[in-house]
């Protein structure tokens, strides 16, 4: 299976439970006060995390793909949740800066993932050691984003 198809598959798989959670929350949360605003901010944070984890899953253990396929895969991961982001924007709950920060976080993670793949392929395309190193760095990246989630989630709520 090619990297873009794999990216598409991962995005579809995570978006189904996300959709169920989204609809259930929208149906059952209190529509008064700040709960709607908080809910849409939570959705935005969840999307960022899911996209970063998708990138980690996508690039962990992969060294044989072409650069072009890697770029398309990152494109799929970044663009797939656009309809969710459109709804968040329509709800007016997230500011333009929050949406921009969310895109920057995922874009940076995608850029770093691509650079790691590129460097690994450049240094030693068939080395198992390099492959393990690159995969470990991808996982570390996801752990860092998870660990500092309070920091960037705070920025998203501004």
């Amino acid at each position: 299976m090619t990297q873009p198809r794999q990216a598409l598959r991962i995005s579809i798989i995570y978006s189904i439970p996300l959709l169920l959670w989204f609809c259930a929350q929208l149906q059952f949360i209190d529509w008064n006060g700040l709960s709607l605003s908080r809910f849409f901010n939570q959705t935005l944070s969840a999307l960022v995390l899911l996209q970063v984890f998708s990138l980690t899953l996508l690039f962990t253990g992969q060294t044989q793909e072409r650069m072009r396929d890697d770029l398309f895969a990152i494109g799929f991961v970044m663009l797939f949740p656009l309809p969710f982001l459109a709804i968040i924007w329509l709800s007016g709950s997230a500011s333009y800066s929050a949406l921009f920060i969310a895109v920057v976080i995922v874009g940076s993670a995608g850029g770093i993932a691509f650079l790691l793949q590129f460097c690994g392929r450049l240094i030693a395309p068939r080395s198992h050691l390099i492959q393990i190193g690159v995969s470990t760095t991808h996982i570390l990246l996801a752990v860092v984003i998870w660990n500092f989630r309070d920091l960037w989630q705070g920025l998203l709520e501004k």
Binding site: I12, F72, F76, L79, L82, I87, L90, S91, S93
Partner: protein, 502 residues
Amino acid sequence: MPMVRLSWLILLLCLFLPAAGNSAIDMEITAGLGGQAVAGRATEIKVRLFASSSTSAELQVRDANGYLTVPVTLAGQTVKHLWLPVTPEALSPLQVRLLLGSGEVIEKELIFEHGDTLLSLISRSVPVGHAHASHPQTTDVRPVIVPAESLPHSLQAYAGVHAIVTDVESLSSLTIEQSQAFANYLGGCNILLLANASAAVLKRVRSLSGCAGRYIQSYQTLAQVSNLLRELDARLPPKPPSAQNMLALHLPAFQDSMVTSLGLYLAGYIALMALLAWQMQKTNYLLIVPVIAAGAGILAWTGGGSTHLISWAETQSNDSHLRVSSLLLLGGDRRGENSLVHDAAVSISPVNGLFSGKSGHYRSRHLEQRSRRELSVHTAMLAPAAYQLTSVGRGTPAFTLQLEQGAPELVYHAESATNQARLLWQGYTYRVPPLAKDESWHPHETERQLAQSAEEKLLQRHLEFESPALLLPFGPEPRGVAAADIQGQGWLVIRHNPAETP
């Protein structure tokens, strides 16, 4: 010769143009109701304008509700007075700006004395009024002494008024605007104490009032005023439901429709992507699909949204006045600019905190014909702008509701039968069968049911156990707002009139 004429023309233009452009304008603003304001409720201001020559300008008022703009045309060497309803903010002064055609701006600020307690307006012409001001103030009412000319000029400005103490002479000196606002105040079953009013005057004023004029009394001495106010206050009819309660009547339907449409949109998109990914050999082209789907969603849910009016009218048996409280929801199903034209006489105030979302400022402006007003607001999806409207309607209900030996009796007076009325009594509801004209009906124990619908439950909460009330479907009110494109729902409550109990 032409050169001489041209020179004269230029000279004349030089003399007259600056004079036309520099019309000297003076603006003075005064706080109405003695400068007192009740937190979150409307009061009014008086704007005095004087221009040395004819000019037109725009008056902008910035208050807690947003911006109100009023086009003003001033004749030369004349004074113009405007009374405008405003809702001042507790912590910042009210800002009034006059924008002239020449670009000049005159800006004034006004500070109100805020409080949480309602106002009792006492006419300055009432001798006892001066004494009442020195009377110890109760914690729930503030006495304010005002001249008759300062009594409110619009129904909105009565929002913070609990009672009026005045005399017949003051009432006879009211302007047409003041009289209309005062009539609406009386129609809403509010308190009026008239000094030394004769029985004939009382009868006449009571005939114009809601709740059969039970809250209009005459008094002779100061000692009576405080006691009368307290007595009448205890007997006031139940307050209409709050905006939050009225929202609960509409929210489930709105919520269901939005959740369904958003769910279908997202599920359809995911299903389409899955199908295309499964069918297509080269998936790279699919990168465009999320962009198209997001664009379609934005297109579909951007623009002016729908308008809903949820009305709740209350009256008493044999009373021709309806106290109407409505909740107006602008937008919410889309993101964009919403606007609505309504009668300037409709008392309308924004309700904050019902929905989240970063809605824009409320803006309203008087249209060229001053009787209409345009309201516009930017709303986000799922976050409509909510407004509370209060008005007094006219119309004799089709039913009379009496208590016969402790049990309610309904008599139907209209020609065409209705089969949607429900009677609420002693914790149960009864379906009223279609009745012929002048036919009466009594509830039977076998027909009783528990309250099911949201409106029945709402009425049940505001109904004394022994007291019966009739609940009927009702057209959207006030009519000054209701238009063809407004989706409305409403209920009329006919309560038992305690004065009619044998």
